[in-house]
Structure formats: structure tokens, C-alpha cells
Symmetry: C2
Subunit: 243 residues, 2 copies
């Protein structure tokens, strides 16, 4: 995170280091699109990371990184906040709600998605033993039940999105996972978006994927499933090498 600070509201020279299957990169692309901000997308090969990625995010070496001029901003939640802070006038709406308490509720659930749901899904897919993977699946289903409740709480039960009539922060944060959630029957053998179990969240996911801002960047379930097989093969090879 070099020191150069660009002028507020300067939308030139936005570059995103991303990767198509990353829920975290996905959410930033949706946010940039919703804000109406033009940017250059650079697809990273995570098996052969670019010098720019390594220099821009030396701490984590992960996507996404937004470059605003020469200033790198890693971490997707930090980027979402930055887009509202640096481009307050851009797009049809701010990403975050205006009301302080609604902002807090949205940030609470965003932290839940990244701090809990993500790790549970990783365990469900890549857990070392069958027991670990089964526990990961059970945890993921329980987390989605909680998010079903959060949807009712945030939207008042009558709106299209967490944020209301239009998608906002929490929609974008969870929306990054919609590609994986939709593909999970092919990836993990379990239907996560089950209208019988979580009707609101299932309908929300379908609505989110149909947004203009999401349509182009939400990965196809078959492509996700193929990528999951690559991850599983890599894990098996790593486990064999360490034995």
C-alpha cells in the first residue's frame, strides 16, 4: 500500500486485479458496475501471480486489489467502503445505507459472511476428512438459515434486496458468493439454495444474478464445478506431498 494519494472523486485510472472464480473479486466488479465506474480488469493467474499483484498486496498476495492511480487497495470490504468514500457522487446510489444503524447492521452481516460463511464453505469443500466436510456442510446450511433471517430483518420482508428496492452493500457482499451457492449441488453434492428451506434467500439469489451489474460476472455453475475439481485435485496433491 504505497503512499501516493489520488484526488477525491477522480475516477480515471481504476484498475482491478481480479480472478473470475473469486467471490471477493466478483463483489468488487458488481460494485464498480453499480457505481457506474469505468475500470480496467486484469485477470490474475493465481498459480502464477503477477508482479503487480505481489507488489500491490505484499501482506496477503490475494485478489482483489483495486488500483486507483498508483494507490493499491486490497481486501474487498475495504474496497467497497473506499468506493463510497472516494466516489460519493458516482452511480445511482451509494453502496452503504445512509442511516448509521442500517450501516452497522449491514456491516455486521458482511463480517459474518466473510468471517463465518466463507470458512464454512471452504471446510465443506476442502475439509481434510469426510467428517470435517460434513460438519462444514451442516455449518453452511445453518449460516444460510441465519442469513435468511437477516434478509427478513434488513429488507423488512417486503423488499427485493437486503438494502431495499435496490441492491446495496450486503447484497453485493453476499452476492459475490451467488455463483458458488448456485453451483453447490455440482460442487458439494448439496443444494444450498433450496426454496423449501430458505425461500427468501433463494429468490434473492435469483434476482441478484439477473442484475445487469451481476449478469456478466457471475460465473456459470458448470465452470465453478470444474474449478472446484481443480481445487480438490490440488489439495489431494498437496496432502500426498506432505505425507
Amino acid at each position: 500500500m504505497a503512499a501516493a494519494v489520488v484526488g477525491e472523486g477522480d475516477a480515471r485510472q481504476l484498475k482491478l486485479l481480479g480472478m473470475w472464480a473469486s467471490p471477493f473479486a466478483h463483489r468488487v466488479r458488481v460494485a464498480l458496475q453499480l457505481k457506474g465506474l469505468e475500470y480496467e480488469h486484469v485477470e490474475e493467474d493465481m498459480g502464477n501471480k503477477s508482479e503487480l499483484l505481489l507488489a500491490s498486496n505484499p501482506v496477503h498476495k490475494k485478489v482483489p486489489v483495486l488500483l486507483h492511480g498508483d494507490s493499491p487497495i486490497p481486501e474487498s470490504l475495504v474496497i467497497l467502503e473506499y468506493l463510497d468514500d472516494a466516489f460519493p457522487g458516482a452511480g445511482r446510489q451509494a453502496i452503504l445505507p445512509a442511516d448509521p444503524y442500517r450501516r452497522a447492521v449491514a456491516r455486521f452481516w458482511a463480517a459474518y459472511v466473510d468471517g463465518k460463511l466463507h470458512g464454512m464453505m471452504l471446510n465443506a469443500l476442502l475439509g481434510a476428512t469426510e467428517e470435517e466436510r460434513a460438519a462444514g456442510t451442516a455449518d453452511t446450511l445453518a449460516a444460510l438459515d441465519k442469513l435468511e433471517g437477516a434478509f427478513a430483518e434488513c429488507s423488512g420482508g417486503k423488499k427485493e434486496f437486503f438494502a431495499g428496492d435496490e441492491p446495496g452493500y450486503l447484497d453485493i457482499v453476499l452476492g459475490g458468493f451467488v455463483g458458488w451457492l448456485r453451483a453447490w449441488d455440482k460442487v458439494g453434492g448439496v443444494k444450498l439454495l433450496d426454496a423449501g428451506r430458505i425461500p427468501r434467500l433463494t429468490a434473492w439469489a435469483a434476482r441478484f444474478a439477473e442484475l445487469d451489474a451481476a449478469k456478466e460476472v457471475t460465473p456459470d455453475p458448470d465452470r465453478i464445478a470444474e474449478y472446484a475439481r481443480v481445487l480438490l485435485a490440488r489439495r489431494a496433491a498437496a496432502a500426498a506431498a506432505s505425507e
Copy 2:
């Protein structure tokens, strides 16, 4: 997180559910003090959590929770953002920097403290094996090296605090850990704040602990060490019970 939304800027009826040894509760107390906001502090017994805590934070059942009127706000980083959002005029300064890029840098390192440093310190203290604890200690020292670099980057190397001449967001976030960092030679047998190794961070920690806002709430090293022994005994009992 019930739905009642209180009016912006209404500082009446702030109540904090905290616990003296929690770095996360500690940082909220410092922030409230720096903002000049009066609040009622409720000390939670984490072995016998109050009904109010369980009702206010049903997802995590953890401190801190700030209650603003009847509206509960869990999660310390969410609370810090809320204090700036709900009380923009309070105190001698905002918690977060005004510049969008400086905000992003501070949020990046705050996420690092909570997502990396905290887990490493837990491993160093409570890891199941001696190897795990040694790895936790090595990771913690490496993380503090990174934060030493972050201090130079954020403060320009010439300021008193991460935020500049006065403490701000990242000072408060890492400052919550100062009690534990100072006590670590008694807790984990290793001096973490070593002026020979991380001179800037060591001097910063001493300055932070001397702030009026921090002095009263930064726990004494001996009390932390005593509490760490309780945690270790609990872990040993839990391990024995599960065998």
C-alpha cells in the same frame, strides 16, 4: 440486532456490554472516551452471560455490544464505524481519517489485526501442542514486524500515532491489544514489545497506554497474566473432558 433506529447524534442511553480483559471491548471504551461520549458500562461475566448480552448478540454471544437506546450493535469494528457515523460532531476528532485512501489503509490494517494477529496470539497462548504454540509465537512476532512497518507507513515515521499527532482508528484497534502485548512476557514467556526489535511499535504502545482515554481501561499486566492462567486451566479441563 432489533430494528429500532435511534435518531442520529442522540448520545443519550449509550450502554456498553464489555469485559475488562477483552481487547475488543477495550478498544470501544477508548473510542467512547476519545469521542467524549458518556456511557454506562456493564461488565459481563463470560462464564455466565447476561440475558441482555444473549438477546443483543444472538449470533456470536460475545462482547462488546454497544446499545444505543434499544438498538444493539455488536462487533467492535462495526461499533467504531457507528460512533463516527452516528456522532459525527462528537469529541475532539473523528475516529477514522477523513481522506478516503488513508481510511482504506487504516481499515486494511485493522482487518489484519483482527483477522491475523488475534488468531496468532490465541495460537501462541492456547495452541493444543507445544509446536502449535511455538508456531503461534513466531507468527505473532512476524505480524508485529509487519505492524512496525505499517506504523512507519501510516505515520510517515515522524508522528506519535498511526493516525498522526493524535490517536485514531488504527491506534484504537491495535490499542485494545496493548494490555495483552505488555503482559506477554508473563503470559507466554516472550517479550513481544521489544524496543530492540520493533522500536516504533514499542514506543507507540507506551504512548498509547498513557493516554487519558486508555489509562483507566488498559489492564494491568499481572491481572492479564492471572487471567491467562485461568484460560489455560479451562483449556486443559476441556481437553481432559473430551478425551
